[in-house]
Symmetry: C4
Subunit: 240 residues, 4 copies
Amino acid sequence: MTDSNATRHKVFQELVTATKILLNEGILDTFGHISARDPEDPQSFFLAQKLAPSLITTGDILRFNLDGETSDNRPSYLERYIHSEIYKARPDVNCVLHSHSPAVLPYCFTDTPLRPVTHMGAFMGEAVPVYEIRDKQGDETDLFGGGHDVCADIAESLGGQTVVLMARHGVVNVGSSIREVVFRAFYLEQEAKALTAGLQIGKVKYLTPGEVKTAGALVGKQIDRGWDHWSQRLREKGLA
Amino acid sequence: MTDSNATRHKVFQELVTATKILLNEGILDTFGHISARDPEDPQSFFLAQKLAPSLITTGDILRFNLDGETSDNRPSYLERYIHSEIYKARPDVNCVLHSHSPAVLPYCFTDTPLRPVTHMGAFMGEAVPVYEIRDKQGDETDLFGGGHDVCADIAESLGGQTVVLMARHGVVNVGSSIREVVFRAFYLEQEAKALTAGLQIGKVKYLTPGEVKTAGALVGKQIDRGWDHWSQRLREKGLA
Amino acid sequence: MTDSNATRHKVFQELVTATKILLNEGILDTFGHISARDPEDPQSFFLAQKLAPSLITTGDILRFNLDGETSDNRPSYLERYIHSEIYKARPDVNCVLHSHSPAVLPYCFTDTPLRPVTHMGAFMGEAVPVYEIRDKQGDETDLFGGGHDVCADIAESLGGQTVVLMARHGVVNVGSSIREVVFRAFYLEQEAKALTAGLQIGKVKYLTPGEVKTAGALVGKQIDRGWDHWSQRLREKGLA
Amino acid sequence: MTDSNATRHKVFQELVTATKILLNEGILDTFGHISARDPEDPQSFFLAQKLAPSLITTGDILRFNLDGETSDNRPSYLERYIHSEIYKARPDVNCVLHSHSPAVLPYCFTDTPLRPVTHMGAFMGEAVPVYEIRDKQGDETDLFGGGHDVCADIAESLGGQTVVLMARHGVVNVGSSIREVVFRAFYLEQEAKALTAGLQIGKVKYLTPGEVKTAGALVGKQIDRGWDHWSQRLREKGLA
């Protein structure tokens, strides 16, 4: 294997493991997909062909340019432009995940903002932005991230943050590495679960801006421990 | 195998796999059953003999006419008329599922309508109809779909939609294929879970009529991805 | 094996399988126990020695008289008088289960009655009675069914019904057979889960007295299907 | 093996089993750690090196003094001072657990006190104290138990009780043995789940001070049954 092949193979392996982890931890179900920017060519990214996530192997990863196009003939996810537009808008982002993370969904169709309630959620910032497709596209759309314009608007709603919600649809997580995105997706789901319970039992005390900043810096250093743990859980179930 | 035998065998296999998927994904428990119209004779349909769903094999599938009667001597589900009356009323329907889908149950005994909150639920239409047995039968019934008259009323409440709730009892899903019904049953449960949480944390923004129509058309094309995914989960657990 | 040994062995086997089912379906945890009246001597009943339920085998079943005493030297559950006092008060009862059924617990310490919301819960009657230990014993007790007097009062609160809640403690289910009690314990948990969700989303429409009576008679005939299903689930997990 | 080695080995084994149980029962996830005071030297305690809990073996256990320092070169958890300061302040405590117990988290960021609702929660006392880091450290901290001063304050908030919550962070359980702490951590999670549901359905009747005292004494004698049960569950899954 050339160095370049080895680098690429490592990214493909991590994308497959990340998909398995996200399925096993209940973040992904039938739909959703995780991509990674090519470390050797920042103008392109890797994403699986159109398949149920549980079936993806390293042989299914395709290369796309930042317009979301590929020269591979195999079928592509319709929502690949969510990925391409974010890679275009955010040079610091090396991984994008789209999911229907179940505990996060209620924050995609209610007027209650998703905000961090423990140090593990500090990466969210003070509140998670919501992309409302109705604002520009009206209220008869397919609610779907299927076109360049819609996806450029999703990237704009994301701004400089780590996660954006798509109204009445789902979630987009971003980060500087595959492992960071898996970590953030896992804890976004946990924070949403905890907040939903908290809102029902009392008055919620959210993280302050200072806590968001200080706790976020600390927790961000622990992501390998998460990856090691979730990988071990795959092995225990015979899934890796 | 003759062509006819092969066709029938394929339907039987899909009914057994569908039952396993619905059990594994938590839609079915001890009760409930899924049937399919005979592709070679639209005046009859296939449904298992009276058994716990986890025990059903292809050898347990019986043929019924559209009055819900069979010439097979093995015991039949008492609720088979739910199936037969819907096949009679809806020539477009090729699969019927009756379940006690757990997250949907609260919408069977409260005054809150079950309505779609993400694109995945667009198949529901603007709101899911509820069959109230008390309206015609009074309030001393067994709450059960056991007779032709009650089941004809269930079919009438269903109208042209894809799902109807039976008050204080359960759920009926219909579709043009086994795979479509499994897909809809899975996402009905997910939508109900999300809505129940959403109603507790804020003001809910439901899909508009235009979104229901446009998103429904799009999502409806993805059902094989669901089937592939849930089948893979059966294989991972050694259940298929 | 004599006929008498064979009869007894069958009861012991069913008690062990029932315990495994109740653990696997999430009704029992570390605590709780199921007993059965001796079919050959209605003045005695069978109950395991004091052990974690997951460890019980047929060799651990002891015989008790209706005062809750045994001639066996192995340690007995402190709460055995719950069983003995109910067998004394209710000649129609052949099986008693004590559990901390998790979804039912909230109805043990709030003022909201547990009432049936679907046909599967009709066995509960119009509302489940609650035994309040404070009424006679004051508010400094161990909240525990540890004495003859407390347990006679639990039996009195149960009256002619199928389930009684012990305030701030747990649940007691009774029935005419082991299989019936397992069935009722499973659906009591499901009804409680559904009701808790329903109370949070809208106005609840409970079963009427007529529906309780008519649906209860119908559902009560289906208990073997439940037993077959839950036994199959044990086999699929290699637990039976 | 010398007697001393054998004693130490037994503690290491129990720490590893406790970690596996807490993972398997959903109390621990990626983070959190359990330690035990050295039975042969009360001025030191044992705690794993910095690792994901699912990876810990007996070879990973390090010895720390009551200032939280070790002569071992392997990496230590940053939060080890939570353990050391509690061992310093509470000579009766032989085991400390820090976790993000999911059902308990909502009580770490709302104004609703966590109080016992069944006999199993009597060990909590009348209400669980909350350590609010903002009181002394202001509202720009990392919310983290990373320094001696913060951890001494956590120990002070714990006082003579068995559990203390860290605002917007997590939980600390203590006890006189590893098994007791596992037992308390499990039932703290169950009590929190039940209370959260109860608060949503009606008016909650908490344990009285007398019930806390009397029930706590009784339940505290049953901890081996819990340990036996949870260990059996590990064996059933091939995890022990």
